[in-house]
Every structure is written in C-alpha cells, then in structure tokens.
Point group: C2
Chain length 232, copies 2
DNA sequence: TCGAATGCAAGAGCAGTGCTCTCGTATTTG
DNA sequence: CAAATACGAGAGCACTGCTCTTGCATTCGA
C-alpha cells in the first residue's frame, strides 16, 4: 500500500497538473491579473470552490506557476547549453542567452510572472528562491567551466572591487563550489543583469521607437557580454 | 469668458488632480492590481460612477498615472543632472543614475507601473511613448554634451556594428539632433538597459541571496558604465 | 468485513470589483 | 430666461476570491 499510490492519490496529483495546465493556458491569454480561479474551474468542468481542495488560494496557485516557470526556463537554458560542444564556451554562452530570449518570447506572460513586477499583495514565498536561482546558476556554470579549463581571459580591473562586492562574489562562487575570480563573478552578474534587462525592455515595450526589432542589438550585446566575461 | 475658466472647469481640473492623487496614494499601498476605482471614489467621498465623468475607465486612469510617473522620473533625473557642474560629465552621469535608483526605490509601485510587466489587458496607448522617451533622452543628453565638448573617449570597436544597429543608432541620435558616433549611441543604449536592469532586479527581488544589498554593485556598475560610454 | 474517518465536489452566500444606465439637479450658454 | 450641458447619486449587471455547509464516495483500522 506504500509503493503504489491509491487511486485517490493518483487522481489528485493528476488534477493538480490539469489545474496548473488550465491556469497556464489562461495566463497566456489574459496574464496574471486575469487569472481567475472560477474560469479555471469552469474550464475543468468543476465548481470554483472545489479548487480550494488543491490550492489554498490564488496566491498558492500563482506560486506553483512561478516555480514551474523558473524550472521550465532553466531546463530550456540547460538544454541549449548541452547542445553545444562543451569546450566551445562562447558558443554555449550565446546558445544559453538565445534560449532565454526564445523562451521569454514564447511565454511572455510566464516571463512577466517571474521577472516582471511582483503581483501586488502577493509575497513570493521562500520556496521560489531555489528554483529561481537555477537560472543564473546555469549561466554561471558556463563561466565556471571556461575558468576551470583555463580558457578564460582574466583581465585585471583598473578599478579595484570594493570589499562588499568581494564578499558577495565569494558567496556567489560558493554556490558552484568554484574559485572563479571575484572580478569574473561580478562581470558575470553584470552580464546576467544585462541579458534580462534587454529581454525585459524588449518584451515590455521600452525599445519601441528606438531599438524596436531588438534582434540585432540582442545578438551584438550577447557577443559583447562574452567579451566582457572573457570567454574565448 | 475665455481668459478665466468657468467655475465648473476649475472644479473639474482640480477634481482630476485629486483623483490622481488618491489613486497614487492607493497605488503605493496595494499596487496597480489593487487600484480600485470604488476605493478611490470612497476616499474622495463620492460614488464610483461619478469617476467615470473624469476617466472613461480604469485603464485611462492608469495611463494618466503612467504618464505622470514618467514625467516625475524624468524631472528627477534632469534636476540631478543640473545640480552637477555641467562640464563634469562623469559626475552628471553618476548623479542621473543615482537619481533614477532613488526615485525607483522611493516609488516602487510607480516604477513597477512603468517599467514592470504591462498590466494585462491594458494596452499602453501611444500617448505614453513620448513621456517615456524623456527618460532615456535625459540620460543621452549627458553623452551628447560630453561628445560635443570633445571630452568623450571614443574607442574603436573591435567588432563592427551590423547595419540594422547603425540605422537604429542614427534614428536615436536624430532625436537629439546630434552626430554622436554610432558606437557611442549603442554603448549608451547598453548602459541605459543595464541601469534599469539593475534597478528592476533589485526592486523585484532577483538579487535576493546574491547581490542583496545592491548599493555596492550599483555604484560600481555605474562607474563601469561611464567607462564603457567613454566619459572622462 | 463493516463502521468510522477522511477526501471530495457542489451549492449557496458574502463582500468586493468594473462598468452602464437612468434620473433629478446644478451650471453654463445662447 | 429657456435650452443645452455637466454632474452626482443610485440601482443594477456580471464578475471576482473565498468560506461554509451538505451529502456522497473512498479509504482505513479494528
């Protein structure tokens, strides 16, 4: 009775998946704001109050979607990374960046859910932090691999890092249990910020009337970020 | 009867201001999602339907708040810029960046309104584009001044700009009616993206557990962006 | 195997939302 | 001074998240 789950348990986890699926479908149409429990229930042919057996409230459903989104994006990045020859560090970086943009463009509302304004009233629980850090970790892993292969062009900074930044770089590098130089970690953080800054600006319309078809700017910037990090 | 507005007209524009004020107050508490016309009306001691005499719908009120937010931020940046010796271009850049961050931190919900996820269902009308471009224009003006003073260190790019990017750089420079070199315009766009990427990440919690007190990273990055642009 | 405990869906109901329409009054205009 | 216009109030519609109760189905323990 322990190994195989009871019928009720299987039905339950299946329904949870169906609820999330329907919610995601609705999210992609009307966004987080328009995510209505009643509409989700309607789509599944049940009554809204029944949903509360599976999610305590709307926020809990949102949290589940947020975690799924982080995981999906991270998986996409990791897959794109793996598809490139592992010693081609620049190629891996560019593939990872393009995968990020591709996923964001394909799932704009899910992207907005995790990287856009926090849904007001909603406080992201601790449980979202770990999945969320999978994304930058996937990017930093490329830098670590390059560093450990001795392929990184580590240029000396003309301005020394302030102590706070050194501490923070240490903490970040510790996640990967790697001795990536401080300057490289900070430059990687810059690249990470720039990558998502570009995607956010593009998706949220800030490039309208300036860099509007953002493809050229994106590709060019990704290459410059590889330069910045020191990827060969 | 033309020079001085009628009593009704004065009352009207005054009420519009009061409505926006109350809405802003409510925005700063519960965010765009929680902005309720009924609550605004309640605060003003009127009935919700009366608001529709002044704003056709919720979106129109949001648009007004968005435009005000852009204008407020731009004004803040321009003031910070003016407060620095106009020939101290790096000082002006740093002051402008810090002013941006300061305003965003002081008005997180208004920042989220304009730079966060677009409110779903809400389509930003054309009217928001012009006020929105005042912000990057204010930043680029510093670069233009530095360039026209011959103070800019224009380094040659090792990678040539693709044609699309050259076109877009031309279009951007045209706004300021200035012949800023293409490379400088694109690097300024990078700096602009990085600036708002950092603020967005900081405000929306992406730096949690990594660069969390983001002051050091911000100040350091702002200086590196000044380097990137070539400010003296 | 059978009764108790538990899981579950449904329905009614509450307080709230954006928005529309009507109606009587106040103001402005010709 | 009459006609046109602007306005606030109120009722009402369709919707929301969420709670509580009720009755049925499934699971579990003795």
């Amino acid at each position: 009775m322990n190994a195989s789950r009871t019928a009720r348990e299987r039905a339950r986890s299946e329904l949870i998946s169906e609820i999330k699926e329907a919610a995601r479908r609705q999210l992609s149409i009307s966004g987080a704001q328009g995510l209505s429990l009643r509409a989700v229930a309607r789509e599944l042919g049940m009554v809204s109050s029944a949903l509360y057996r599976y999610f305590a409230n709307r926020d809990e459903l949102l949290t589940a979607l947020i975690i799924d989104a982080y995981e999906a994006l991270a998986a996409e990045i990791e897959a794109a990374d793996r598809a490139v020859l592992s010693s081609d560090f620049r190629g891996r970086w560019e593939a990872a960046c393009r995968a990020t943009r591709r996923w964001a463009t394909a799932h704009p509302h899910e992207y907005a859910l995790v990287y856009g304004s926090p849904v007001p009233g909603y406080h992201a629980p601790e449980a979202t932090i770990a999945p969320g850090s999978r994304v930058p970790t996937a990017l930093l892993a490329i830098v670590r691999d390059a560093h450990e292969a001795g392929a990184l062009t580590v240029r000396t900074d003309k301005a020394p890092l302030p102590p706070t930044l050194i501490d923070q770089a240490d903490r970040i590098a510790a996640v990967l249990a790697s001795a990536i130089p401080h300057g490289v970690v900070i430059r990687s953080a810059t690249a990470w910020t720039q990558l998502f800054g570009m995607i956010t600006f593009e998706l949220f319309g800030q490039y309208a009337n300036s860099l509007d078809p953002a493809d050229a700017f994106f590709d060019y910037s990704v290459a410059r970020l590889a330069d910045l990090i020191g990827l060969p």
